[in-house]
């Protein structure tokens, strides 16, 4: 006799809602005429995300390790992370809705008549919305997954759509496609590592659940554990862009359509760090002597590498890619801290950083010339004069990245570093502040280019954003500002929600 698996639908409803939205989106693609698709798709996306958020709010105090049999653990931190993903997705979807950035017909060969026609017809590749929703659903599942198989599936569910989305840039399509290929190949490669590691963890503990792995501590073959931890880590470190698994980041950030880059940079980090935190805090907490030194070293290398290489960048998206690598290093300090403080700090940091990142990429979409976005920093010269408000917002965002006080970035850094210090990892703090100093250099250089250098005769202009983009950028920027001035709003929440149940 088969017993139906116990599912607590209310707890997994947020994920289901988004998945449902995605499926409806697919149906819309199939059945609705081209002319109406875009509007409907946007509505569906926003609607499902709002619904999911509302559901998350309703279950905010609930928790269970058996939300979906033993595969999904809904707990405070999980809900916080899911909410973060949904909020970031909501902000990002408005940017993505600005179809100007996306290819008219993905299958058309760049430069072909087919492409020209599709451009003239103003056709749109509205599949991006269901793809986007699938990715969001995967990202929501990733940090709450509590066994290896769910982790793997979630990883793939959010990665596969992103691979595709990365290749959908309207302009410079060769680069975009290249970035999709690289992202895909390397992503699949890292998944293989993850899976192989998962296999060994299973071999080590005899179970695929994180709590089971934790319970098996010290019981059996250490080699299996070692290989398992390392390979699973490789998969996760790849997703967060930690050195030396970062190589995809600059290329993909640069090649992908800018709104996707923004979404990816923000939300992927949240999901991947969420999972990383859960795995290390719940699954590997007992083996901390094994991995903490390791992650410390990786964090240090990542912080320094990201900051140093970013100095030498000439492309604003690439620069932000390296900056995100550096930030991954900072965030890893929170993982190493392995404490409630570390978790609080990480939650805060992820939310604040995510919003700021989306705002940053949102602003990048506005700087254009006749052939589209201008990401060459040398051509950003003097845009402070052309559009002080936009440049000013970007400057604020950069200062936030740099961690100047009165920005959310500063509070995040302070929280992360103090948690690391509290756990005795003073080296992380020292390297962290040093690389922050290095990092400040390139953020400030951009500000100089925007404000202190006279514009040369250049066709670069700052376009007036569409309403959707405007809302997105303004919301993200304003929340960043508020979080800088009144971080308690989020910190208190993060403190309340910083709890993994085991």
């Amino acid at each position: 006799m088969l017993i139906a698996p116990s599912l607590i639908y209310s707890l997994i409803a947020p994920i289901l809602i988004v998945l449902g939205g995605a499926l409806i989106g697919v149906l819309v693609e199939a059945f609705l005429s081209k002319a109406h698709r875009a509007a409907v798709q946007i509505t569906i996306s926003i609607g499902t995300l709002l619904l999911a958020l509302q559901q998350l709010w309703r279950i905010r105090d609930l928790s269970s390790t058996t939300a979906a049999v033993n595969s999904v653990t809904i707990d405070k931190a999980g809900i916080f992370l899911q909410a973060t993903v949904v909020v970031l997705a909501l902000v990002a979807v408005l940017l993505i809705a600005d179809q100007e950035n996306f290819v008219a017909q993905a299958s058309a060969v760049p430069g072909s008549n087919e492409e020209k026609n599709s451009l003239q017809e103003k056709s749109q590749q509205t599949e991006i919305f269901p793809l986007f929703l699938f990715a969001v659903a995967g990202m929501m599942l990733f940090p709450v997954a509590s066994d290896l198989i769910t982790l793997f599936v979630a990883l793939e569910v959010f990665s596969l759509p992103l691979y595709l989305l990365a290749g959908l840039s309207r302009r410079r399509r060769l680069l975009s496609q290249e970035s999709a290929l690289k992202y895909f190949l390397l992503g699949a490669y890292s998944s293989a590592f993850f899976l192989f590691g998962a296999a060994f963890l299973y071999g080590y503990s005899g179970t695929i659940s994180l709590s089971g792995i934790s319970a098996a501590a010290g019981s059996a073959n250490n080699i299996f554990l070692l290989i398992g931890i390392v390979f699973v880590s490789v998969g996760l470190l790849f997703k967060i862009g930690a050195v030396p698994f970062h190589s995809w980041t600059p290329d993909v950030y640069q090649g992908a359509p800018t709104p996707i880059t923004g979404f990816m940079a923000a939300a992927t980090k949240v999901a991947a760090f969420g999972a990383l935190l859960r795995i290390f805090y719940v699954g590997f907490a007992q083996e901390q002597t094994l991995w903490r030194p390791l992650i410390t070293v990786i964090a240090i290398i990542t912080m320094l590498f990201g900051s140093l290489v970013a100095i030498a960048q000439r492309d604003v998206k690439r620069m932000l890619a390296y900056s995100s690598i550096a930030h991954a290093g900072f965030l890893l300090s929170g993982v190493v801290a392995l404490s409630k403080d570390g978790l609080v700090a990480s939650l805060f940091y992820l939310f604040a950083y995510g919003l700021t990142t989306i705002a940053a990429f949102g602003i990048i979409t506005l700087v254009r010339d006749s052939s589209g976005e201008v990401t060459d920093l040398n051509r950003w010269i003097g845009i402070g004069k052309k559009s002080p408000l936009v440049a000013g917002s970007f400057a604020f965002i950069l200062l936030s990245f740099a961690g100047i006080p009165l920005t959310s970035g500063f509070i995040g850094k302070f929280a992360i570093f103090s948690s690391a210090y509290k756990s005795g990892y003073i080296s992380l703090v020292v390297v962290g502040v040093l690389s922050s100093a290095i990092a400040a250099f390139f953020y400030i250089r951009v500000i100089i280019m925007m404000f202190f250098t006279d514009p040369v005769n250049d066709s670069v202009s700052v376009v007036i954003p569409s309403v959707k983009s405007r809302i997105s950028i303004i919301v993200a920027t304003v929340i960043s500002i508020i979080l800088g001035l009144m971080p308690s709003l989020l910190l208190n929440a993060a403190t309340t929600y910083a709890n993994f149940i085991k």
């Binding site: 390979f231 490789v234 030396p244 970013a310 250099f441």
Partner: protein, 629 residues
């Protein structure tokens, strides 16, 4: 101690007057000089009234004090702005305001053609205020304010015609040299505070016997350094000659009669320290002895009448400093010489100014000659000053200088002999160079080489000179009568604690002095009798050449301090740019280079990215292996 509310006005009047003149600007051009002179005269009146009042009191009650306000008070460091007028300071007050007023009057005429006369009087008043503060301050710190104040006034006045770069440089030189001395004064104050916890004269005097001689010697030497700076004593004397760039009344007032004697005041005021610090006292003697000869030798070679007089001043102050080094009995004689010198030197400077006035500001004595007949009054007064300085009885210098020479001999032993001979030698050279000045200026052939005959100066200039001349005649006699000044100063300097045997009877010393003076005069007369050339002779002895160059003090300063200093500055500039700033820039460029190098890892090939991942994974495994094993 008695108090008096008048003291502050001594300082405040000229200070305010100075401020008013400076702030009022051109509006005060018409009446500024009058007000300044009246203020100076009022100060003299106040001083005189205080002097009369002081005389009427018993010895121990003569000093009066006035506390103005608490100036600096931090922890145990408490300094009030208070004034002290005692027997010593009243001498100075009268000298400063008296001579000062005369020179104010003189300047009205002397500066009448200068567009900036108002500013000149403002500076003069500022000087009077600062100098009075210097002598009235009841603590070293108050004195220090006046001390630097007179330095400032001196700087402003030397550079009064600073549109000439050389004059501006001279002013700066004077200030800097004085500052070197000021370092001494401030260090002395610091040591005094560290030692006594007090910087007032009375406070230190009270506890001086408990202090170790090391500390007292240190304080004494530092005070001596200060005195050297202000009083143009060796080795800080080089600024005085250049200071003659200022208008002549300034030279008379500041660089002859008053300010440059501040060092003598300082040492006399600090008698309680020097009396307990024999090494410092010896150094005072050495400095005084060297300078009196140094100045005299320089004086023999100078053709610039003002520089010759300046060298003479240096030399005469050397006498005074030497006298202060002689211990208790010497202080009074130093002050006496200071006062008489104030009269005769001021009168001679003003006379020189009068000559310049009549000679279109020519200062080179080689271009004078035979002026006596054109400017009889000037010549007469100058002559009286001349007789006073070389020490011909009964003129003022005779009394004061003779006493110093006598006391020097009485110092006893080899020291006494050396000092005595030095002072005698100085007297001879003084006679020589002063005779030379008089002959070159007032006698002999007319060498000015233009048709305009010199003319006598206006009465406004001559009257002050005349009054000062009376001083050069009579002051010596008056002050020494019944050892008046010595007894007057006794409460301040505690003289005659010990009594030296007389090395020689006074009359013998006087005769010796007169003899060497006569020799000096004779040499000068024989050398400069007859017609002289309008140019200085070129083929002269090494000593003359050296004296013309101020005995190479400037060259020494330049080669020991200035040039190495300039090199140092250049090197530090380079070090700052290349090393310190270079390091900062290097941090930047190293980061940039590192960034660019690391950037090449990102070569665009997926396969190499994958390789990097494998390497990373293997490195992680290896690392864990190492950690666990």
């Amino acid at each position: 101690m008695q108090t008096s509310a008048n003291l502050v006005w001594l300082i405040a009047l000229p200070l305010f007057s100075s401020a008013i003149l400076l702030l009022a600007g051109k509006r005060a051009n018409s009446w500024g000089h009058v007000m300044a002179t009246i203020v100076s005269a009022s100060a003299f009146t106040i001083g005189f009234v205080e002097f009369i009042a002081m005389q009427s009191r018993a010895d121990e009650n003569r000093a009066v004090a006035q506390k103005l306000f608490t100036w600096i008070s931090v922890g145990s460091f408490n300094v009030d702005a208070s004034l002290l007028l005692d027997q010593l300071s009243i001498c100075f007050v009268l000298l400063i305001t008296g001579v000062g007023t005369l020179i104010h009057i003189y300047s009205i005429a002397y500066m009448s053609h200068d567009l900036d006369r108002r500013r000149f009087f403002a500076y003069l008043n500022l000087f009077i205020a600062a100098m009075l503060l210097l002598v009235l301050g009841d603590s070293y710190l108050n004195l220090y304010v006046g001390w630097e104040g007179v330095g400032l006034a001196s700087y402003l006045l030397i550079g009064f015609w600073n549109q000439k770069p050389a004059y501006a440089t001279a002013a700066k030189k004077a200030f800097v040299a004085n500052r070197v001395g000021d370092v001494g004064l401030s260090l002395a104050i610091m040591i005094a505070f560290a030692t006594f916890g007090d910087v007032s004269f009375a406070g230190i005097k009270e506890h001086v016997e408990h202090a170790s001689s090391t500390q007292l010697t240190a304080i004494g030497l530092m005070l001596l350094l200060a005195a050297c700076g202000k009083s143009a004593q060796f080795p800080l004397q080089s600024w005085l000659g250049d200071a003659m760039a200022g208008p002549t009344p300034v030279s008379a007032l500041i660089h002859a009669a008053t300010m440059v004697t501040a060092g003598v005041y300082l040492i006399t005021r600090s008698n309680f320290i020097f009396d307990e610090a024999p090494i410092a006292q010896l150094m005072v003697l050495i400095v005084g002895g060297i300078t009196l000869l140094f100045g005299a030798i320089i004086g023999t070679a100078k053709d610039d009448i003002k520089k010759a007089l300046a060298a003479s001043t240096m030399s005469q102050i050397g006498y005074m400093i030497l006298a202060t080094g002689l211990g208790p009995i010497g202080y009074a004689f130093a002050i006496m010489h200071l006062l008489t010198h104030g009269f005769f030197k001021a009168s001679m400077f003003l006379g020189a100014g009068s000559v310049m006035h009549g000679m279109k500001d020519e200062v080179n004595m080689r271009k004078y000659g035979g002026i006596g007949k054109f400017m009889p009054i000037t010549a007469l007064t100058f002559g009286l000053g001349y007789l006073a300085i070389i020490g011909v009885p009964p003129f003022a210098g005779f009394y004061s200088k003779d006493k110093i020479i006598e006391t020097a001999f009485n110092a006893g032993g080899m020291k006494g002999l050396a000092l005595g001979i030095a002072t005698l030698l100085g007297a001879m050279i003084t006679a020589f160079y002063m005779t030379r000045v008089v002959i070159l200026t007032f006698f002999g052939n007319e060498r000015w080489g233009h048709k305009d005959e010199p003319h006598e100066s206006p009465a406004l200039m001559l009257i002050p000179i005349g009054l000062l001349s009376i001083g050069s005649i009579a002051s010596g006699f008056i002050l020494s009568k019944g050892e008046g000044l010595v007894h007057w100063l006794e409460p301040v300097v505690n003289p005659l604690k010990e009594h030296h045997d007389e090395f020689l009877p006074p009359i013998v010393v006087s005769l010796m002095t007169l003899t060497v003076v006569a020799i000096g005069i004779l040499i000068a007369v024989s050398k400069y009798r007859g017609d002289q050339l309008a140019q200085a002779p070129e083929n002269v002895s090494v000593l003359t050449k050296a004296a013309r160059r101020d005995l190479f003090q400037d060259d020494l300063n330049e080669s020991v301090f200035m040039h190495p200093g300039q090199t140092l500055v250049r090197n530090i500039l380079n070090i700052d740019y290349l090393v310190l700033d270079g390091l900062v820039r290097a941090v930047g460029s190293v980061s940039l280079t590192a960034g660019s190098r690391l950037r090449s890892l990102q070569n665009g090939y997926v396969r190499s990215y994958a390789l990097l991942m494998i390497i990373g994974a293997l490195a992680l495994i290896a690392a864990i292996w190492v950690v666990t094993a």
